[in-house]
Amino acid sequence: MKQFLTLFKSPMFVIGFSLFVGTLLLALLGPLVFNITTERVGVQYAPPSGKYWFGCDDLGRDYVSLLIKGLQASLYVGFLAGIIATTLGTLLGIYGGFKGGLVDDIINMVTNLFIVIPSIVIIILISASFSEGRSLTLIAVIIGMTAWTWSARAVRAQSSALKSKDHISLAKMNGANTFAVITLHILPYLASYVFMVFILQVATGILTEAAISMIGLGPLDTVSLGTILNQAKNNGALSDGIWWAFLPATVIITMVVFALYLINTSAEGVFNPRLRK
């Protein structure tokens, strides 16, 4: 825990963290501050005004409401995908790295296999086949299920390095079972590393959701930042110079991802002693 606190000494982390907390607050408290409504409140693409700060969308809905809802959705996708990918990747990575031998070889091979096969292709193919009822959760699950490979590879390298550490050999010799060794002895050491991996996975999840929404394979049950951009593109907002249809959403995505990247990079600097120098 202490090492997490040292993060706050890094200005980069502080900036990233505040940015991220800011977006999080916007997503969570926004509905209390702003009157969130998805009803029609103005004409199509009404320009920004004092009442509607970012104007209206093609259906005359308030963009502030949509952006807050979209941000909630994007964060949800990011976190769900991140949790799935990190959990899967960490478990497989640790297990493989720790066990070694045939199990490791097999896990390693499967991991490399899915790293090499372009995941965007798999995501597109799967999303396309769920044409009805393609929910936000489903998309998050698909992203998570294809993104675990990177975590697995990264964690595996770390855990196989840890394996030879004295205290772990000792625990092993004393007959502790694999599960106990992993949870009691390996996971705590990897916590900071898994944290960094998780942060990156969240960022990737948010970007990937936006990407597949842009192709028109986004969630059908809610608005997300990706679908806002897709709507703007499909409705010709670009050629009419309706900047409020795509700029605010772009800025929000970029800020969230930037914040996460900052957190990750600063954490890397703090946790990785090499980079600290």
Binding site: Q44, D58, L59, A128, S131, L220, N234, G236, S239, D240
Partner: protein
């Protein structure tokens, strides 16, 4: 030290790229270097979306490429007649209309019409394509032959010139529909039988082999243009200066543009950007907020709302084989729950007049006269959320809400939970998606558990035909035809071609009016059969009124807006002389279809 060098290199690189760019930018203004000089080229887009496949006129319609494929394109191959939707007249093309009645349609072949190899267009050519269905059931025009018993051919003198007279004898027993024959005559393009009969013979009478024969610009055609080149980005047509019609139909004038290029754009935005930049002269795609482009020279039929001349009605079709959409009260409640004004303003950018209940477009074109305002008031349903709720409550439907006040589901009068109704519509068609979104909002506000069901276009079509939907957004009219609006009613209401859910039907997707059910209403079929044979205007009007009344009461479908047959947009940056409401010399269609082809002879280079 190194750093500065690298940085400079980067900046220099960026500048270089910029220079190349600007160099190119200046270049685009001149015609130099282009095989298709801008001053001789007309750019039209919106028909061909995919890669060009084949220009074989015998190929399946869906598989072939503009201007050979779907639509009444007159540029390369031509029909006998062109239909002018503005005045309902039949304009001469390869033939000219002599007479039409409920029993026969008589057409003289234009004596001057010749193929590009010099041979005269003959009755044999017409018979070849119209009667091919009698030899090959799966030929693209096979259906034609089901509507006539024979085509009689006789030699006649026409203004002192000998020509062939064709008489299409209406088949009375099954189809009995001269309107459809007229549709076919204006839409079926005649191909040179001397070429294609030979091709069939060479290929062992195997039509599918003949359909795969590649065809290029050297093909024998009759139209004013021939295909010059085709890439995945464009199809290029070149003017045929020896086109027979120049002398026979246009007083010796040639079409003005030497080239017609159809760029193949992949996204909606591409069309509007190209139009705004003056890179595209005419387009037929939905472009929102067209008034914002007027400053860039982009024009439409009207220069103010609704901008386009209405000609088609998008509708929701309800699946009448399952609950709750099998209940006409429920369907009427739906019709009352949808905010048509929002549809007009938000989904279709205001391109629709205010709509009236019923399937006839009130006040529009030739069919406007069949609209009866009293009936609409008495039997029709307009947007009225309170009325929608009342109809639902009266019929025993109850909405169940979640704790947070949002709609959870609905129950019928027996208390059974009803499933969520999905409105199926092709994904990515932005105007249609918006219509659905607005409708869903209205329906849910009225307590009906409906949701958007956007699917890939490729899945939409099979689902439509096989009835695999709850509610479907579709457009019954592809074009304004001689048979309009009968064809619209037929498409929505007929059960003469009845097939159960799961099998393909090309009309009445919602399986309304099952002929085997107790509720079968024989009047619908009677009227649908009768109208094509009526020529007395009063009787015709009466029949349409009766049919429209049934439609309003039973509400098998919900009309949503009056949209144009084609989103006819043009730019006056390069070419002027386009028809508009102020100068309606041709219908508002791009100069490649039917009676609008003549625009090509009227265009002038902009100064």
């Amino acid at each position: 030290m190194n750093r500065n060098f690298k940085f400079k290199g980067l900046i220099a690189g960026a500048l270089l790229c910029g220079l190349i760019g600007c160099g190119g930018g200046e270049k685009k203004e001149s015609d130099a270097g282009s095989p298709f000089p801008r001053s001789k080229t007309l750019y039209l887009a919106g028909s061909q979306w995919g890669d060009p496949t084949t220009f074989n006129p015998m190929a399946d319609v869906w598989a072939s490429t503009w201007p050979v494929g779907k639509g009444a394109f007159n540029l390369v191959y031509e029909p006998l007649l062109s239909f002018n939707a503005l005045d309902g007249k039949f304009e001469p093309c390869l033939g000219s209309l002599v007479s039409k009645s409920g029993d026969e349609i008589v057409i003289d072949i234009n004596p001057e019409a010749t193929w590009s190899d010099g041979q005269r267009v003959s009755a044999a050519d017409v018979k070849f394509i119209f009667e091919i269905g009698r030899r090959f059931k799966d030929a693209p025009t096979a259906i034609n032959a089901e509507y006539f018993t024979e085509i009689k051919v006789e030699k006649v003198q026409n203004n002192g010139v000998e020509t062939e007279r064709l008489t299409f004898v209406v088949e009375k027993k099954v189809r009995n529909n001269p309107l459809i024959i007229l549709d076919h005559i204006t839409q079926t393009r005649i191909v040179p039988s001397h070429i294609w009969e030979k091709a069939l013979a060479d290929n062992g009478n195997d039509l599918s082999a003949v359909q795969k024969i590649p065809v290029d610009g050297s093909a024998v055609v009759s139209g004013p243009y021939k295909t010059e080149a085709a890439t995945n980005e464009k199809v290029v047509l070149k003017r045929r200066d020896d086109y027979w019609g120049n002398k026979a139909l246009f007083g010796g004038k040639k079409p003005v543009p030497e080239f017609i290029i159809h760029p193949i754009f992949k996204s909606n935005d591409a069309f509007s950007i190209a139009l705004q930049k003056g890179e595209l002269d005419g387009s037929q795609t939905f472009i929102p907020r067209i008034w914002m482009k007027q400053k860039d020279g982009v024009k439409t039929w009207f220069d103010q709302a609704p901008y386009f001349l209405a000609g088609a009605v998008p509708i929701f079709v309800m699946n009448t084989t399952k609950a709750p959409t099998n209940d006409k009260n429920f369907r009427r409640a739906m019709a009352a729950a949808i905010n048509y004004n929002d549809v007009k303003e938000l989904a279709v950018s205001g391109y629709s007049p205010d709509i009236q209940p019923g399937l006839i477009m009130a006040g529009i074109g030739i069919e406007g006269k069949y609209f009866n305002a009293d009936d609409a008031k008495q039997f029709g349903v307009s947007y009225d959320p309170e009325r929608a709720k009342k109809i639902l409550a009266d019929a025993g439907y109850k909405s169940v809400y979640k704790a947070d006040g949002t709609l959870d589901y609905m129950t019928d009068k027996k208390g059974t939970k009803l499933p969520t109704l999905f409105i199926k519509s092709p994904a990515g068609w932005s105007d249609w998606e918006a219509i659905v979104t607005i409708a869903v909002k209205g329906l849910r506000a009225a307590g009906i558990d409906a949701r958007e069901g956007f699917v890939d276009a490729s899945l939409y079509w099979p689902a439509r035909g096989s009835g695999d939907f709850d509610i479907l957004l579709t457009k019954p009219d592809n074009a304004v035809l001689p048979s309009t609006p009968w064809s619209r009613f037929f498409n929505v209401m007929t059960s003469s071609t009845w097939r159960p859910i799961g099998q393909n039907m090309n009309e009445n997707y919602g399986r309304y009016n099952n002929p085997k059910s107790k509720e079968f209403n024989p009047m619908v079929e009677k009227l649908l059969k009768e109208i094509p044979t009526l020529s007395d205007p009063a009787k015709l009007s009466e029949a349409y009124r009766a049919l429209n009344k049934i439609f309003m009461i039973e509400q098998p479908a919900i009309p949503l807006a009056y949209l144009p047959e084609q989103f006819y947009e043009f730019s006056e940056t390069r070419w002027t002389g386009w028809p508009t409401a102020a100068d309606p010399y041709a219908p508002p269609l791009l100069p490649w279809v039917g009676a609008s082809t003549k625009i090509l002879w009227q265009l002038q280079l902009a100064k």
